[in-house]
Symmetry: C2
Subunit: 376 residues, 2 copies
């Protein structure tokens, strides 16, 4: 039984606090009192605390008494929050998915004798972990990850609800996508190279380029082909491109109302947030990780397939299950003393350790998040 | 040679002033000095005058010395401006296309001994005129008008540039569309009932419901079937519906930023205005008026087809030619003493008079705006 503080009471942070509270003493901290009260109501054992992570001193005071910090703040706050945690010499599991390079904090973590496991959700997260594991077992020539969070009920035109922060969804549609092809880094616009793919239990989905490779571009630079694509119901991408091509995603401060200036993107986000708001409705998470290469001189192809659904009993979303339980698996793995290295570690580095890999998959399996493996 | 004041120096107002200045003394008035200077530069004979039509006294003073007023102000200013002109006892030709019912000013016009010919552009305008004429010659069972202003070069996604005020284009996409079917008034959402139609010299276009019947719902209430549809390049309508269905056309003041509140529609308009801005580029006007019924007991079907292009020589848009020259035809028809009745007259009432009808068609023909008539 350890003392854990969870930063961020969003959908995922809340689900993680509830999961951990069965075995540990858990404090859940957020600036939003309503979110805190909601989680407290669902799980009495959790202690809640109002906290603004932007206030560094307050943040560092708040975490001082804990064995481990689990950080799930919005992406745009992630990097500075993680840095402050490391400077406070606290070990940390992080799923804030900030745009900055987490490995740039590696030396700082070593200096502060800290272990920071980052990006340990579903994607980034499980795809990295799987890649890190298979990289120990075979010579990989290509890695591909296809992933999406989708509503069960499709509503025209976008057939989409955002299972995590809509800001981060729009970021996926605007930030240029990087992939590796024949050893070269290729940069393409997000939403490019739409292809149709079949998934058991769902049907046809469309996959398009998004900037999801993150740390593995550095850590797995010996693999000549690596790509991540986002999955949506067919048609979504075309309609997003309509908005993008006609200026709705422009970040230029070109709109003036009553003397106040703003950008089309700022207002488009507000409209789409409303349209894409995930209510108390069923959604699902779908992921396919495809690794090809050679093992003992023979061609090998390994596929990990995930299809997870909203949990009606607990009203916990599939995205929270798949993302949050991977992180809580890492929390327990770390608290069990299974990972002792100091520094910043994305999951592909954790995946090198077979015991850690198996622990996380087993932890997820116990919670019904099941990866089906095919080898051929 | 008469003295005419043209109110509004927009694309159409400017083209009309230039057309009339060859035969008459013309003053062009607008609140926008740049627009005035632009027209003056193109046609030295025109006198320009800065005028805010919102200031009723100034407006009535400005028009007091003229034989006729030609009103081409934006739609939202149209009704009040026309009312002020009638109250000032000035005869007027109007193409402001305001949303209010112009016939509600009929009694006021009679009291003031004024002739007001309204809606006398291409559509509304020529379609009404044609209907009014054919209604004298046959028993009409159905009237349909298909009309659109389109750019020559199609740019994805909307394949569209607005040949008149984009505010009025968006109005076409939001105001419920009325049509008459088997003698009943039917109201449907704008953009509904999309059908594909073929047009010589263009190819396939899509037609959808828009609220274009206006006065003929009242004046031609004996005709059991009447409909007007707007024409666009295929695909446009679907993408507009994507915006509409996902909240971009909402007029609710639901967006707040920096303390300012606005509506999605206000934002969307600004973005689309930029995307749809008609530059100095070629555009075209296409219209098909289809009238069916009986003449002397036999089935008769009459089609009027218009396909007009941007005039490279004068850099006057096709929409300005088709709309403006219909109105300047009416100006000359009126000044020639061909229409003497007092009151408010939409074109279907003018069309009853064969001489007036022929005069307008001939005037347009001389300017290259040609209606091809097919009877079968």
């Amino acid at each position: 039984m350890s003392k854990i503080i969870v930063l961020g009471a969003g959908m995922v942070g809340s689900a993680m606090a509830m999961d951990l509270a069965d075995q540990h003493t858990v404090v859940l901290a957020d600036i939003n009192k309503e979110r805190l009260a909601y989680t407290k109501h669902k799980k009495e054992a959790i202690t809640i605390q109002v906290l603004d992570v932007n206030k560094k001193k307050e943040l560092q005071d708040a975490i001082s008494d804990f064995d481990l910090v689990l950080c799930a703040v919005p992406g745009f706050l992630g990097y500075e929050t993680l840095k402050a945690i490391i400077e406070a010499k606290k070990n940390v599991i992080d799923i804030s998915f900030f745009p900055e390079d987490s490995l740039s904090l590696h030396e700082l973590a070593i200096e502060n004798n800290v272990t920071a496991i980052v990006d340990i959700g579903v994607a980034p997260g499980m795809d990295n972990l799987i890649l890190g594991r298979l990289n120990e077992e075979m010579t990989i020539s290509s890695f591909a990850c296809y992933v999406g969070g989708l509503p069960k009920i499709k509503k025209w035109p976008f057939n989409y609800k955002a299972p995590f922060s809509p800001v981060d969804v729009i970021e996926e549609y605007t930030r240029p996508a990087r992939y590796v092809e024949n050893g070269n880094l290729v940069v393409k616009p997000a939403l490019s190279d739409v292809e149709l793919m079949e998934f058991d239990g769902i049907g046809t989905l469309e996959a398009f380029n998004s900037d999801g490779l993150r740390s593995i571009i550095q850590t797995m630079s010996h693999i000549p082909n690596m790509i991540e694509k986002t999955l949506r119901y067919p048609g979504h991408c075309e309609y997003i491109r309509v908005l993008k091509e006609s200026g709705f995603f422009s970040e230029e401060e070109s709109l003036t109302f009553n003397g106040i200036t703003t950008s089309p993107l700022a207002l488009t986000s507000k409209i789409l947030f409303k349209e894409w708001k995930l209510g108390d409705e069923e959604e699902l998470t779908v992921m396919r990780v495809l690794v090809e290469g050679k093992q003992n001189g023979k061609d090998k192809r390994v596929t990990y397939d995930l299809l997870d659904h909203y949990d009606k009993k607990t009203a916990i979303s599939s995205m929270s299950r798949c993302t949050g339980y991977t992180a809580t698996a890492a929390v327990n793995m770390y608290l069990n003393g299974m990972w002792k290295e100091k520094g910043v570690f994305p999951p592909e580095l954790i995946g090198k350790d077979k015991d850690c890999f198996n622990f996380i998959l087993e932890y997820l399996f116990q919670r019904g998040v099941v990866y089906a493996v095919t080898e051929n």
